[in-house]
Symmetry: C2
Subunit: 440 residues, 2 copies
């Protein structure tokens, strides 16, 4: 069975490769999901669950003629429960819809991943991270419960409104981050929090990347808990400046930290920011500037648009490796050297408080062939370097198809075997997003 | 093969029942664990991993002639890493040793479960909760990584020093709370946090239990985040008063909330406590008292000793059910009625901020037979009531042998099947703590 399926579903947004798929459905409800899954089983075809296609690991790329299930019609906010501080939504609900719904309410959903038009189901499937993770955790930490359809068609409610749970194995956290390979997430119960009344950002300037390390350490070891702690270079940010036609505030130093502190007492936030200010200048920073509201909005908008600006300009390989927090600057310096040696232009930025490095490598003037040859070789060396300091191939984007090889190179065979056992336990016939994350 | 095994291991600390075991070992290191596991496999016997026997669900009770492995010799603090704020310890390390080690350091391990002499491995195996969970999470939220020996003898490092992780399935959280049935935890990497500089407690008095609900709700929905939010009755606390020979501070009201706020600015904490004070008096409290340091220590010591005081006096069935936070007082009132109807004397206390109810039922003057008959019947009704409001049989003690039946009554058969699939994936021969949590 074939039908006309739009390129949106068939062409990988990073490599431009074209896959093929057997069928495309837009379920309206749980019954439609169960029914479409049964059809896929019947046809002995894999089934790929699709959010908003913002993924960057080919996790929804159909390489085996799969059935495709676009969740965008299941986009309703089902319940706003102020008694338990829980928001129940369908899996296809865009993040923006959730933010908009909560905008005038006293509670907020804390995670703040880069792709705001992603669906919440996609966020759960990849355990999306983002700017707020340093204080509020990643998507995993902000999901109370899930409704999941298993490969055999049964429906589980995992987790839920109970805040504590020592009642059997933690199934909820197994489905979160499993990239649609263990079950189909159809509904989510999200944790809401009282919105902090105040927030304040500051920008800190450094001469060299390696000067950041002591200040990051001092902040994390201090009694101040920032709600965001980002790093980037002025030259990296210049892409966003051109893209948005907006300029960074005046600050000395090529390497920058952007920090936000939030809370309920204005004086406490100011005191915390003052602590960070002093601590930065005492430990190698050359400049530090507490931003007023307008400056902060502008600076964050620049930071938020870095990836979009880079992608708009060039073919980009964007990574999201993670290393232990004390290895972050030394790892970036090594990866930078490695890229320069291979003649690959590069930009590094990311979440300094989490050890999460966004490394962007750009094709520039290289021919398609040169680019691919240099890249493959380079990436093997890069992931080996990350592994050597105890890091992992993905902090928040997931593995998908693109990083499967690097995942299996990172972990010992016993570990990979344990992953396969989990997959086999939940999906013995390899129906759900087959051959993504791991091979069976 | 049999040997003389002390009653400490054979007699269940709650029911007094005597089991039997084939062998007892005290591994000194990872190799000893792997070796003893191989011996158990060879003998086709189950293997029970034992911490400090502080559990209350018969999770380490040998009912099948198992091999017993006491982890108390593996009790070393291996690495205090201030660069990544991680403490690496062996699984048999007592909580008290961890607290003592950190006492003069600027960092702390946040979880504060009732049984301070428990081992950290036992805490991980049951996902122990405690007083600090409302702000700092349960044990799960404070473990970065585990070293685990699988049933087949292979050794996995799951999780680790990386703060974020979207690199394959979340194995770490699967082992946490699995009560020794999926793997043997041998080493843990614990999350440390900068110690808050200040804390302040207050006590709030109410006439009736149902009056607590609006105040709990208002606190949780406010911008104040307490680090503890406990409830108990004066009559319940009187057991601890007698036990310790110490008296509660003067406060009006039979039902009490005990709240702590911590942080780094004394003024901010005082402001938060003032907010709670006003909010309590505006929503039905009849008295509220901010405690000085000595009063706070004394009140917390009384609260900490409630369970010990009750157990010292009587045969007790102690539960740790959890319900959605908005159902807590109505559930307690129903359970209280149910107990009274059955002629079973009862004390309720617990973690008001988590919906976690510690219900203690006392044998009193009942004969052994009367007690057992009334109890079995009563517990079935009690767990059914908890289930009917969306609650769970265990918040923090686990399932073990004692609550297996109630677990399977709580979840639908598809859910129980998923739990069994996980067990079979990791322990196909049912070697690790067999027939605990679930039956295969």
């Amino acid at each position: 069975m074939t039908e006309q399926i739009p390129d949106y579903y068939l062409v990988d947004n990073l490599t431009g490769q074209r896959g093929q798929a057997s069928k495309l459905a837009f379920p309206e409800n749980l019954e439609d999901v169960i029914d479409f899954l049964a059809q896929a089983r019947q046809a002995q075809c894999g089934l790929i669950t699709i959010g908003a296609q913002t993924g960057v690991t080919a996790a929804t790329y159909p390489h085996l003629g799969e059935f495709l299930m676009d969740m965008s019609h299941m986009n309703q906010i089902i319940d706003y429960d102020t008694q338990t501080l829980t928001l129940t939504v369908e899996a296809g609900t865009p993040l923006t819809k959730i933010y908009d719904f909560l905008a005038d309410k006293p509670y907020f959903y804390a995670p703040d991943p880069g792709a705001k038009n992603a669906t919440i189901g996609g966020n759960a499937a990849t355990n999306a991270g983002g700017m707020a993770a340093i204080k509020y955790g990643v998507t995993r930490d902000n999901i109370r419960g899930l409704e999941v359809v298993l490969a055999n068609g049964s429906v589980l409610q995992v987790g839920g409104l109970n805040i504590k749970n020592a009642s059997g194995y933690d199934l909820k956290d197994l489905f979160i981050g499993s990239e649609g390979t263990l079950g189909i997430i159809t509904k989510l119960q999200l944790k809401l929090r009282p919105r902090p009344k105040f927030k304040q950002s500051q920008l800190i300037g450094f001469n060299r990347l390696e000067d950041l390390a002591p200040v990051i350490y001092e902040i994390l070891a201090s009694n101040v808990q920032p709600s965001a702690l980002e790093f980037f270079s002025k030259s990296g940010l210049s892409h966003a400046e051109k893209y948005l036609g907006s300029q960074l505030v005046d600050i000395n130093g090529e390497q920058l930290l952007l920090i936000t502190v939030d809370g309920n007492q204005q004086e406490a936030i100011q005191a915390d920011n003052q602590t960070i200010y002093q601590l930065a200048l005492d430990h190698g920073a050359i400049d530090s500037k507490i931003l007023d509201k307008q400056e902060a909005e502008q600076t964050w908008r620049l930071r938020d648009n870095m990836m979009a600006a880079i992608i708009a300009k060039d073919i980009v390989e964007g990574l999201d490796v993670v290393v232990p927090i004390n290895k972050i600057t030394e790892t970036i310096l090594k990866l930078e050297q490695l890229a320069t040696k291979k003649g690959i232009s590069n930009i590094f930025f990311g979440h300094a408080g989490d050890g999460n490095i966004h490394a962007s490598f750009m094709k520039g003037n290289l021919s398609d062939q040169e680019w691919q040859e240099r890249l493959d070789d380079f990436l093997d060396e890069l992931y080996a370097e990350v592994k050597s300091v105890g890091g992992l191939p993905s902090a928040e984007h997931g593995i998908g198809l693109a990083k499967k090889h690097h995942l299996s190179e990172t972990f010992p065979s016993d570990y990979m075997q344990a992953l396969r056992q989990v997959k086999k336990a939940f999906d013995p016939d390899n129906i759900l997003n087959p051959n993504k994350v791991i091979d069976i």
